[in-house]
Symmetry: C2
Subunit: 364 residues, 2 copies
């Protein structure tokens, strides 16, 4: 099944995204940041967190599930910590704000640790951790949503496949950027198998009754990576984000006390979820200069990268990659040659352009 | 192969450990803490980190690889961070000290983040994270040593199977305590297979030439859990501990600039390691009260535990456990009935007692 793909300049696609968010009521500053985080995902090849999301964002922003004009409040603050109520903001503006604040704290007292409560989709969270690395710090971001993954030993959802992103700066090399979910695979890979009409491997997911399945259309419950380990990490991420913010998202769903079930008038929850989209998130920055010389640090990271890449390769492996490296290559290639958009995504962009009455991006 | 096992009261075994450390030159305070952390591991059933280690500790303490009288220094300090030079201390005294300091910081500014440089074996690191949970905080500990695990795509060691421990308090339930290595299995499980003369599953480890092996005697290179994910986490833990402390442990080994190779007079490095035992470690505490009400927090954690445990079980599973729960059960059972010691461990205890001229524990 050959698929038509057009290439579109990132500047043109980003301008389209920004215009869309403006029409949906976001401020120019917020629309700019949201478009920036989405286009960054597309540039890095993480297309599941890029333009693909626009129709879903439009649905959520027009029904009020995502709030285009949130009343973002700093609820609690100490020299090293901050608790931010996001008022159902789209993720990028509030998370960029939060990361800037924890970086200021790290500059002053060595580390900054923030929790964002009641935020919606944050896009590719690696973006926020990278902000810290680009400022010569270490950055850490993780999130938790309502259950979509079976804890180890269970056959029903109980934890979320919470992602974590950690980034540190290098000197000759690009920043290291680990950005991973705690499931065997991200939900996007299952959607891709649906689109491609191919089965998924055993061990990726369960069907709605908790039975193992290789049919991607039946696969609605994710499985944790590394069994008890991925499951345990996911559970602890909720303890450090949702529960710590006073807004737990797993236990209300587990105990049937969830007041946030999606209303019939709202967009259908995503597979595996019962409630409207919601998440809590931790963002943290560690000031490297508090501990060691930043330039030496970056050189050591270069050495580490060089050393890992020079190791003898396992059979069938043509190159050893460090965290974030494959995505940096895609970033460079797409920055130059444009972002390839599958036919389905182009159709969706046409639909949203028509719906909110804006021009299609140049080149479409 | 039926193995004789005696049960010994934990108080008696702990007193023996303390006496041993005193004879090896540690201060009474340090000997007490070291014995406490070791006996804690035995009580929890983590026998690989308990009395089993004593002969190895004796070898390292008598050759100066581990320093019984370290000159522990606070090298750098800010309101939220601390860098501690451990001077090759045994792990427990300096890590307990570090965790107390970061908890004080968390009490004052919301979070405390410490790095311990140049420490030796820290035992079961869950102990330190649990200290924070017992004080109504969240605790985080992770470490990195020289390479013993193949990064994803490589067939030679490049990262360490760095463990991480996260703990948070509950109310009716025991504290949640995730304590896991970033390898598929801890090295101890491979040693156990050697002892039992049984093969190990494919995917646990490689032989010295980087070939997959099921022979535990050939298995010297660990493999990361979850492929690129466990491998990436392990690499980032070095970036946040060793490299951040100015004492990188992976890159010198990878680039052949490691000045710490074990001398012939020193104890043989452990399988997969080229250098004498050394590690760096992060300990952090997050003050829950900075973000939310601590009592409500603990109740939410109880709810989360109840909810997870009540989920429908996967086939063949008799009970769903939350992180740390199986070990708490063992802890209660062994606190009451004593610690079972395999015959091999008893022989080793006799040998070290004879060597340092102390009495065997009561009951042996």
């Amino acid at each position: 099944m050959a698929e038509t793909q057009v290439r579109i300049k990132w500047q043109s696609l980003k301008a389209f995204m920004k215009e869309l968010f403006l029409r949906l009521g976001m401020s120019p500053e917020d629309a700019e940041i949201e478009a920036e985080v989405l286009i960054w995902a597309n540039l890095r090849g993480v297309d599941s967190h890029g333009a693909l999301l626009l129709p879903w964002y439009v649905d959520n922003l027009t029904t009020g599930v995502m709030n285009p004009k949130p009343d973002i409040k700093i609820e609690k603050e100490t020299p090293a910590t901050i608790l931010i109520e996001a008022d159902r903001s789209l993720g990028a503006p509030v998370t960029v704000f939060a990361m800037k604040r924890v970086m200021e704290k790290a500059k002053k007292v060595g580390v900054g640790w923030g929790i964002i409560r009641n935020v919606t989709h944050q896009g590719a969270i690696g973006y926020y951790s990278l902000m810290a690395a680009q400022a010569g710090m270490a950055g850490l971001t993780f999130t938790c949503n309502p259950p979509n993954m079976a804890p180890y030993g269970a056959k029903a959802p109980g934890v979320h496949n919470s992602p974590i992103a950690i980034s540190v700066p290098a000197k000759r090399h690009r920043a290291l950027l680990l950005d991973m979910a705690t499931s065997v695979v991200a939900a996007g890979k299952i959607s891709l198998a649906v689109d491609k009409k191919v089965p998924i491997p055993q061990g990726w997911a369960l069907d709605k009754d908790g039975n193992p399945t290789t049919d991607p259309r039946q696969a609605v419950i994710l499985l944790p990576f590394g069994g008890a380990k991925g499951s345990g990490l996911a559970m602890m991420f909720e303890c450090l984000s949702g529960v710590m913010s006073g807004n737990p998202l797993l236990s209300p769903s587990l105990l049937g006390t969830d007041a946030a079930a999606a209303k019939p008038s709202e967009p259908k929850p995503r597979p595996g979820h019962a409630s409207r989209h919601i998440q809590n998130s931790v963002v943290a920055a560690i000031n490297i200069g508090t501990f060691t010389d930043v330039e030496s640090y970056k050189e050591h990271i270069d050495n580490l990268i060089d050393g890992i890449k020079a190791l003898p390769k396992a059979e069938g492996v043509s190159e050893i990659f460090v965290p974030g490296e494959p995505e940096w290559r895609t970033y460079d290639e797409r920055s130059k040659n444009g972002i390839p958009l599958p036919d389905g995504t182009v159709q969706n962009l046409r639909r949203v352009a028509d719906r909110v009455k804006i021009n299609l991006p140049e080149g479409l």
